[in-house]
């Protein structure tokens, strides 16, 4: 049997909006992935440490506070520093379209906005997971 895809669903920063993150976590689990959910209020360092310890293939970041340009980028930079370039990083939340190109440049592979069917996230991960 193929190795299960391991995903870390993470909530960086002080944002308390966890509805989306929890729905995505549950949907990925239902799709047969192994999911670790960090819970709230994680610093970028904590997220990267958990990603390493749990040896995940994917990091999914969720943020609705508007701090994504700082906090998503922090996580991506730190993962790179730890030679975890092969981890697929995706993000979701209230993210204006115009911020997406800069996030992609920083290493966030895809950004999923409000109204995204969870199935779309599942199939994106399956298609793009790097290891």
């Amino acid at each position: 049997m193929a190795k299960k895809i391991r995903v870390l669903v993470a909530k960086p920063g002080l944002d308390g909006h966890d509805r989306g993150a929890k729905i995505v976590a549950r949907a990925l689990r239902d799709a047969g992935m192994e999911v670790v959910y960090t819970g709230l209020h994680q610093t970028a360092e904590q997220i990267v440490n958990t990603a390493m310890q749990e040896d995940v293939d994917v990091v999914g970041l969720s943020l609705l506070s508007g701090a994504h340009m700082t906090l998503f980028v922090d996580v991506a930079v730190m993962l790179k520093e730890k030679q975890m370039d092969d981890v697929l990083i995706i993000g979701g939340g209230i993210i204006p379209q115009e911020d997406v190109p800069r996030l992609k440049k920083a290493g966030i592979a895809e950004v999923f906005g409000p109204g995204t069917p969870v199935e779309e996230i599942v199939s994106y991960i399956k298609k793009n997971v790097k290891r």
């Binding site: 002080l14 909006h17 610093t43 506070s65 906090l71 069917p117």
Partner: protein
């Protein structure tokens, strides 16, 4: 029911059966129904038609009554909007205090009648802007307020004795409230003259919104401190806004929102009574806050049921004053119902939701802006949202009579049904040992997560249609202008904080912080101590840190 009435009811019943078997059966043969079951968002089955049979158990004088009379189903005020319209209160805050102050003047200039402050995340967690955990969050989700200096700028040019202000603040509510009071006092306006609301509802933070700081016990103590200080010193202030809004936004159903909110309300009342406060002293200053979601009649029934349940519960707890029995509430249209797709359509959603709130008898209302699934609202978007309320108020005619849907077979049936379902939840929570043990067991969190997941599945499988999302989609990306914030705001704010920390009388600050620490270790009411700290220009972060040291911090078990 007397014999004549029973006879009429029997005739209705028989006619109903005939109608179902003849006319209705024929109709659905010709036009089969679009769904096998019609359900509202709380999973309640909705019948094809409602008749006097569905309300036959209701006695008008006992169960419905007149507006302004027990059980207040039809409203707390006898003449409602015929006298005074609801307060149009747009939740607003972003960037620095100066920018948000400008937005307040803009909104008031366009006919808004009350203010409502949105704070950024660092402020909600009691951190100053230069704290390391504030990274990236300055002014993003609201305005940053780190000290009395910021509060002064926030309300510059606004008459605090004439405008009421609602502040969405929970963990550090007592401290932010102290800043508001101190600012008024410094302007020569006494505490008795200011009016407004602090949200101050920590239970729903643990349950849903998640901006908690301290563990339940000291949090409840702080809340009761504000109740006591409020009715004695700031009599026009609502010292809590018991909130279902965030429970709903986190994914609950309408029934769960209603049940969990009122359950929290009873918990606060019991906590204050345990302190020895008299219910009729503090209860008139309790207020509520509900969501207005998509299912029109369900929302209206929810508000009506809330009033009746609350009046009964308060009476059972020993309240004697009429005002203690009143459930007064603010409503905000459902942020989670807004779509990023075809955002202009949100104007229509918001109109329907706002109308439901008005037909439900809300005391104040926030209408969401069409662009809020994308970013914080632009000036134009927020003006349209405010105009939506003004059109309902001035043009629609729905304000001419009180509780226009009272007596509707459907609405009365649904109101009663929601009340029944609420009491079932009360029983379940009771069996878990009460609200706080149920929080600690993750009961509410799990119930909400289940409902949220089910709702999302229904949308993903198109069982539930959301226009523009899973039907009637467009390929093009939305192109509406997004609010831009002053990029220099954070820098300015940090300079202001640093200047304050060097220029104020620091020995006075330290001495007041020390006194607060001592008091927190004991059991005195903390409000006077917090006010001293704030008047001496201790910052939010410094004051909150003292309480963090004494009370500790709450950590939740993440459930999904």
């Amino acid at each position: 029911m007397d014999i004549a009435e029973k006879d009429i009811m029997e005739q209705i019943r028989q006619r109903h059966i005939e109608w179902e078997h003849q006319l209705y059966a024929k109709a659905i043969k010709e036009n089969p129904e679009r769904k096998t079951k019609f359900k509202n968002l709380s999973e309640i089955d909705i019948k094809n038609v409602y008749t006097p049979e569905d309300t036959s158990d209701l006695e008008y004088l006992n169960d419905i009554g007149f507006p302004g009379e027990f059980p207040f189903l039809r409203g707390v005020h006898p003449n409602l909007y015929r006298g005074r319209l609801w307060t149009m209160r747009q939740f607003a805050g972003f960037g620095s205090a100066e920018e948000t102050n400008k937005r307040y003047h803009y909104l008031l200039g366009h006919g808004e009648t009350g203010l409502s402050v949105a704070f950024d995340y660092p402020t909600l967690y009691g951190y100053d802007t230069d704290h390391k955990l504030a990274r990236g969050e300055f002014g993003k989700c609201g305005v940053a307020i780190s000290s009395l200096v910021d509060m002064e700028l926030l309300f510059h040019g606004i008459p605090l004795d004439k405008i009421t202000t609602s502040m969405t603040i929970n963990g550090p509510a007592a401290i932010i409230w102290a800043m508001y009071i101190a600012n008024a006092e410094n302007q020569g306006i006494s505490k008795e003259k200011i009016g407004g609301t602090i949200q101050n509802d920590i239970l729903k933070e643990y349950i849903a919104q998640k901006s908690y700081i301290f563990p339940p016990e000291p949090s409840m103590r702080l809340i009761v401190d504000t109740f006591e200080y409020g009715f004695k010193n700031v009599p026009k202030w609502n010292t809590i806004s018991i909130s279902g809004y965030h429970i709903r936004e986190a994914g609950s159903t309408a029934v769960q929102e209603l049940a969990f909110t009122l359950g929290d309300g009873v918990e606060y009342v019991k906590a204050a009574m345990k302190r020895g406060l008299s219910i009729d002293d503090f209860a008139p200053r309790l207020s509520f806050f509900f969501n207005a979601h998509n299912d029109f009649f369900e929302e209206i029934a929810k508000y009506r049921a809330a009033r009746r349940i609350w009046a009964k519960e308060m009476k059972a707890l020993g309240a004697k004053k009429t005002r203690s029995l009143w459930l007064r509430f603010h409503t905000q249209t459902a942020g989670c119902s807004l779509t990023a797709q075809q955002p202009e359509m949100n104007i229509v959603r918001v109109t329907l939701q706002a109308l439901a709130a008005v037909l439900g008898g809300t005391q104040s209302l926030h209408t969401n802006s069409m662009d809020e699934a994308l970013a914080l609202p632009s000036e134009k978007a927020v003006r349209i949202a405010l105009r939506t309320q003004q059109i309902i108020a001035e043009e629609s005619g729905v304000t001419s009579t009180v509780d226009p849907l009272g007596g509707s077979y459907y609405v009365e049936w649904l109101t009663e049904k929601m009340e029944e379902e609420t009491y079932k939840y009360f029983d379940r929570v009771e069996r878990l040992g009460g609200v706080i043990p149920a929080i600690e067991k993750g009961f509410f969190q799990r119930e909400i997560a289940d409902s949220a997941y089910r709702y999302q599945k229904e949308i993903d499988t198109s069982q539930r249609v959301i226009v523009g999302v899973n039907r009637y989609q467009l390929d093009e990306q939305p192109s509406i202008p997004i609010l831009k914030m002053d990029e220099k705001g954070e820098e300015r704010q940090i300079r202001r904080l640093q200047k304050l920390r060097t220029e104020r009388d620091n020995s006075k600050v330290q001495s007041y912080l020390q006194q607060l620490r001592k008091a927190a270790e004991g059991d005195e009411n903390l409000m006077p101590f917090i006010l001293n700290c704030i008047h001496s220009y201790a910052t939010l972060g410094e004051t909150c840190q003292v309480l963090r040291d004494v009370f500790g911090e709450y950590k939740e078990q993440a459930i999904y």
